[in-house]
């Protein structure tokens, strides 16, 4: 549909870079919002540790993928500007500057707020080695001798041993060593020696040892009754025992450092005959990517730092001097310490069944009664697991087909699929090997499924299969019936407890036909002639979204009801954003709930005055994608596995499915409206593109995630009461 342009619109260039925010800077803002949760004093202490840990792991991934990609572009002398008009060099400079500020904020929260609170409130003290009692020191040294020392591999540098490979994301200790009574006979490389000598006029050798990743990052000291728990970092223990590693040397200085490398997998799939082998090869290569970020302890010996910087070829702004322990992801382990439940949020456990599918019922019969819509993690993921499990053993089930992107370590779904194949059913599984950072894991269980007799397809060349769909084909009395599950989230029973997603069970013929066609396409057969209900990326989904947005624009132009509510993880597709600006300019009310990246600006006169953007960051990761289009009073609701990002719409296999039944639409609208009313976990983008907490004045306090939990608990109680049989004793005749 070509929405009619008004005279005023024609004068506005909606693609003007000034209307957009750089994607990387927007992502950094998102991480700031996560950091805000670590900062919030009304969050429980251990929850704050968890959020800080998340900011750290988020940042690692961001560097390995996004910053690495910018570095690649810079190396290739890529000249094009981004949607916000920034060159690659400008983006890199801005990202690194912003990250330095961010890291300062992280450690400010850690040092000023969390460490003291840990000690004072929780009685957990993170000790430096010097602070240990004699008894503790003996304990730690014994731990070093028995557990740590056997797994250490110290590596020195000399002419026969080049600078060692420092593995990506590993924590290491670098040291400068002075040989005892042997002036001039060091093992330092000559050229390095020259440099060190120039600075220090001293003959020092460089050595490094990796802090073993197989051991816990920290050691908890034996606790005396009532005394605080003392904790010491592994690297601190090794540092103080370093002289034992280099006999005949004095350790002049030793300091931890951590390196980040370019880890973006770039596979030439046209060349790769066997995708599985190629990914295995690339995984090995990931260790060798270009260095893009070096974290060192603040106060590191400058001579040591210089060697690292020269060897790893780093720029000044890629060096992060850290005021505290490197790699805060250890906080997630600390979060799990036993005995601190009071410092954690009560873990929400959803009712084990959903009202439409009571526990122990025949899931196929339940779906035949009507479509079932589920909102995870408020509603249990168990029905989805049961769906596959029941299909695996049901004698009438002929085939199970499923796409798998990320699954849990010990996935009951994988087990059920293997069982189904063993039971003689046709099981087809599309395993997306290219799911970032899960590649190795995915290869493992994909091979296991193959052994069990499943027909495993390893994704499509050039496209990631991100859609979440399961099809069960069943032979019933009146013929073949297809049961379909469609979802916004992965078939991962672990993350389903933490991510908010929606899913739909249906056995409507039109959905079944489309689901069959999806799997035929994924198997390499031709696309179907028509689709009934589903819209797929990369071929049709973007056009469909653009059409739906333009249709609202036309409705607004015609004076009809026009309103878009869209909830997703990220929004950065230029065409979609431009369409939204046009729609807004035409008067369409657009409410966006975008958890992460959002490159669109709000409140620009004549462009985006009708657009609001809010982000919800809470204990659960907002992950569902729900779309509402008012359509002149004939509203349409959709859910999808896709964000409004070019990677989803252009380079992935994604599915959008309509929500058709009235009660299901009401549920979807309830989700959207509750999140739009959230005053506690939501932050709203202002006209400067900065996120602010919601102004609560005059508003009811709403914590959407908490409210959804409470609603489900209440619903479960009501369902249980409704199902409770009350036996009324017959009255004795004289009482009547």
């Amino acid at each position: 549909m070509a929405a009619k342009e008004t005279e005023a619109e024609r004068k506005i260039d909606f693609s003007d870079p000034k209307y957009y925010i750089n994607r990387e800077l927007s992502w950094l803002q998102f991480n700031e919002r996560v950091l805000d949760e670590a900062r919030r004093r009304d969050n429980r202490l251990f929850e704050r540790l968890k959020f800080l840990s998340i900011t750290s792991s988020n940042l690692d991934e961001f560097f390995m993928v996004r910053v690495a990609s910018l570095k690649d572009m810079e190396n290739a002398d890529y000249r094009k500007t981004d949607i916000a008009g920034m060159t690659v060099t400008e983006q890199l400079a801005a990202v690194l500057a912003s990250t330095h500020d961010f890291v300062d904020k992280q450690y400010s929260v850690y040092n000023r707020s969390l460490v003291p609170a840990l000690e004072q409130d929780a009685g957990v003290k993170i000790c430096r080695y010097e602070e240990l009692s004699a008894e503790e020191e003996a304990f730690v040294n014994d731990y070093y001798e028995t557990e740590i020392y056997p797994v250490l591999t110290p590596m020195a540098v000399d002419s026969s041993r080049p600078f060692p490979l420092i593995l990506n994301k590993t924590l290491n200790l670098g040291a400068l060593l002075r040989r005892r009574n042997s002036a001039g006979q060091g093992i330092l490389l000559r050229q390095k020696r020259k440099k060190v000598e120039e600075n220090a006029e001293e003959d020092l050798d460089f050595a490094t040892v990796q802090v073993p990743s197989g051991l816990p990052r920290y050691k908890v000291m034996p606790q005396k009754d009532g005394a605080p728990i003392h904790v010491i970092f592994l690297e601190d223990i090794i540092r103080h025992n370093m002289p034992k590693l280099f006999l005949n040397y004095d350790v002049v200085c030793a300091s931890p450092f951590r390196l980040m490398r370019n880890a973006d997998l770039s596979i030439d799939e046209d060349e790769a005959e066997d995708l599985l082998k190629e990914i295995e090869k690339q995984l090995k290569r990931r260790q060798w990517g270009q260095a893009i970020r070096l974290e060192v302890e603040q106060g590191i010996d400058e001579r040591l730092l210089k060697i690292l910087v020269n060897e790893l070829r780093l720029q000044e702004n890629e060096i992060f001097r850290i005021d505290g322990p490197l790699d805060l992801t250890f906080l997630m382990k600390l979060y799990g310490l036993e005995g601190f439940d009071a410092f954690r949020e009560h873990r929400y456990a959803p009712p084990q069944s959903v009202p439409e599918i009571p526990a122990g019922s025949d899931i196929f019969e339940c779906i035949r009664r009507g479509d079932v819509f589920m909102h995870h993690p408020y509603e249990s993921f168990q029905p989805v697991v049961n769906f596959v499990a029941q299909a695996a053993t049901d004698p009438d089930v002929l085939a199970i087909k499923q796409t798998l992107y990320r699954v849990s370590g010990n996935s009951p779904i994988i087990a059920a699929l293997a069982r189904a194949a063993e039971n003689g059913k046709q099981v087809m599984v599309l395993v997306e090997l290219k799911a970032r950072f899960d590649e190795e894991h995915n290869i493992g269980w994909a091979k296991m499924l193959e052994k069990a007799g499943c027909h495993v397809i390893y994704g499509l060349v050039g496209l990631k299969t991100h859609s979440k769909i399961t099809l069960v084909v069943r032979r019933e009395e009146d013929g073949i019936r297809r049961y379909v599950h469609l979802a916004t989230g992965n078939y991962n029973d672990s993350t389903a407890k933490l991510y908010t997603d929606v899913g739909l069970f249906t056995c409507k013929e039109s959905f079944g036909e489309d689901a069959t066609a999806v799997f035929n396409m994924l198997s390499g057969y031709s696309e179907p002639r028509t689709w009934n209900k589903l819209t797929l990326a990369p071929l049709w989904l973007k056009d469909r979204f653009l059409y739906l947005i333009a249709r609202e624009q036309d409705h607004a132009g015609a004076g009809e009801a026009a309103h878009i509510i869209a909830k997703m993880n990220s929004l950065c597709d230029p065409e979609v954003m431009e369409a939204l600006y046009r729609a807004s300019a035409a008067g369409v009310k657009i409410e966006l709930i975008v958890r992460g990246i959002c490159c669109l600006r709000t409140g620009i006169p004549g462009v985006s005055e009708n657009i609001t953007v809010r982000s919800i960051v809470g204990n659960f990761l907002e992950h569902s994608r729900i779309f509402y289009f008012e359509n002149g009073g004939r509203p349409e609701y959709y859910a999808s596995s896709a964000d409004w990002m070019p990677r989803n719409l252009d380079r992935r296999v994604e599915i959008m499915f309509p929500l058709e039944d009235e009660d299901i639409r009401a549920k979807a609208m309830h989700i959207l409206l509750t999140e739009l009313a959230d005053t506690e976990q939501a932050q709203v983008m202002n006209a400067e593109g900065i996120y602010e907490r919601v102004d609560r004045r005059g508003k009811a306090i709403v914590n959407s995630q908490l409210q959804f939990c409470n609603e489900q608990v209440e619903a479960a109680k009501q369902a249980a009461q409704a199902n409770t049989r009350v036996f009324q004793p017959e009255k004795a005749p004289e009482d009547r």
Partner: protein, 513 residues
């Protein structure tokens, strides 16, 4: 059985398709799964007469997968049909045997007319739209890889059908050879198409107004079904909108077009050729409306199966289409319509009366009808060798709905009506027919000869003929006052042959009023 699963496989020139359906009396036909995969068999066959080893290997792999898919659904009955790419292979029987041995799938080779007839049946199965559309002058163009079939309707009967070597794959390969470049591309392809369309126009379109064009193809139809149709009946488009669309196709780059249409880049050349074919036909026939019902050969195979097994009632009387076609051919070769009708009438009376003796069925009855209608067409060429000429005409003319074997049976019946019967095994016969076919030819020839004997004068001397078997004789009673001396005199030879075949002697009795 309440619900029967059935698989239909179309081994086409550039695509191998499988459709699995459920057939039941309650729900009719319900398609469960459609799978297709592109293998360009046609380019091999059309260039070299053989399919390359690589393509045979790919085909075997694919058919094994299809077999597995059918097994997974529990499909027990299926029909696999090969079309032009297989038909035109010089070593078809060897390759098909190899495929059957290794995949378990037996591919039946369809004649062009059988294939088109199945396509036509699948269109007609869309009962409401079909009946409504063919009320006005309508043509069907069925675009395949090797050839196209252009058929015309007269009111609600299919009357003319012609096959032309203008298939998309063939044209595309020709365009590659010509290498016209983008500037001359449109001109060259139009020339290629129009050179054949002009003949069709000259032969059949003089007094015929064709308002609607029904298209069966794999490229334009999905677009009409999905994207070009602006509401209303799916697949129905005003021809002006289609011509405008083709202008767009021509003015845009391949990449732009692929993006705009949301189709794979490598499908565009064939989409373009298919579109150009339709455009030329629209202009030649001056059509106003296009309908792409979105049917496939697999749909036709399934429809045929469902009708044969009585899961559904036929949507249209297809036998009458075949008869109408035969009448049209007879008219083209200036046969006398009254004589044809008389021959048809007498033949069928004999056929029906002697059922117990010949044991033939409805299909053979239809072949007899066609033979009766066409029995004189050879005289257009030669009065002396009318049998041989009729044989050649019939064998060279598309009679939609008849298989190659059936067409040969009809041609032989007509030939032996005029000339000495040659027995099976005779050195002079070069044919694909087997003994059973030959017995059918003999029986139908015997009947037609009798009918011809009674109509010897071409004067329809008797319009009241009664036929009955009595006392081991076929008694033909002719209620007429006209002189039957010639008929009775020349009847002996015909009666001898009839007696040889059926074991009963036909006799003529005249009853004067």
């Amino acid at each position: 059985m309440a619900v029967q699963l059935f698989g239909a496989i179309d081994v086409g020139s550039y695509e191998i398709a499988l459709t699995i359906s459920e057939c039941s009396k309650k729900k009719g036909i319900r398609v469960i799964d459609r799978v297709s995969h592109r293998i360009n068999l046609g380019s091999d066959t059309f260039l070299t007469g053989k399919i390359s080893y690589e393509h045979v290997a790919e085909l075997k792999k694919l058919l094994s997968e299809y077999r597995a898919i059918m097994d997974n659904y529990g499909v027990k009955e299926y029909k696999a049909c090969g079309t032009s790419a297989i038909r035109e292979m010089v070593n078809a029987s060897i390759v098909l045997d190899e495929i059957e041995q290794q995949t378990g799938i037996r591919i039946e080779v369809l004649s062009n007319s059988e294939q088109r007839f199945l396509d036509y049946k699948s269109i007609a199965a869309r009962t409401e739209s079909f009946s409504h559309i063919i009320e006005k002058g309508t043509a069907i163009v069925d675009i395949g890889g090797s050839s196209i079939q252009l058929s015309l309707f007269d009111e609600d009967r299919l009357v003319i059908t012609e096959n032309m070597k203008l298939g998309v794959l063939r044209l595309n390969d020709q365009m590659k050879l010509i290498d016209a470049g983008s500037t001359h591309r449109d001109y060259v392809i139009e020339e290629l198409i129009n050179s054949q369309l002009k003949v069709f126009q000259h032969l059949y379109l003089k007094q015929r107004a064709v308002r609607n064009l029904i298209i069966v193809d794999d490229y334009v139809s999905p677009l009409l079904q999905n994207r070009l149709a602006a509401g209303g009946e799916p697949g129905v488009v005003d021809t002006r909108a289609f011509l405008h669309f083709m202008e767009n196709v021509r003015s845009q780059s391949r990449q732009e077009m692929a993006k705009q249409l949301g189709i794979a880049d490598d499908n565009l050349p064939l989409l373009y050729v298919s579109g150009m074919l339709i455009q030329c036909i629209i202009r030649a026939l001056n059509c106003e409306m296009l309908w792409a019902p979105g049917v496939t050969l697999c749909d036709g195979i399934i429809y045929d199966y469902a009708v044969q097994n009585r899961f559904i009632e036929p949507a249209h009387d297809f036998d009458e289409d075949i008869v109408a076609c035969a009448k049209n051919i007879a008219q083209r070769y200036l046969s006398l319509p009254d004589r044809g009708a008389a021959m048809e009438n007498i033949s069928l009376q004999i056929f029906d009366e002697t059922k117990k003796y010949h044991g033939l069925g409805a299909r053979e009855r239809l072949l007899l009808r066609i033979a009766a209608l066409l029995h004189d067409c050879g005289k257009y060429i030669s009065m002396v060798n009318s049998g041989g000429c009729a044989y050649d005409i019939i064998m060279s003319t598309e009679i939609i709905g008849l298989s190659h074997i059936e067409r040969e049976i009809v041609a032989n019946v007509v030939k032996y009506n005029h000339s000495t019967f040659e027995y099976f095994g005779s050195a002079r016969i070069k044919t694909d027919l087997d003994k059973d076919d030959y017995i059918v030819i003999a029986k139908l020839t015997a009947i037609l000869r009798i009918a011809n004997g009674l109509e010897r004068s071409h004067m329809q001397k008797c319009d009241d003929i009664r036929i009955a078997v009595r006392d081991g004789r076929l008694v033909i009673t002719m209620n007429t006052n006209q002189d039957l001396t010639m008929e009775i005199g020349l009847f002996r030879n015909r009666a001898d042959f009839f007696e040889e075949i059926f074991g009963i002697r036909p006799v003529i009795r005249q009853k004067k009023q």
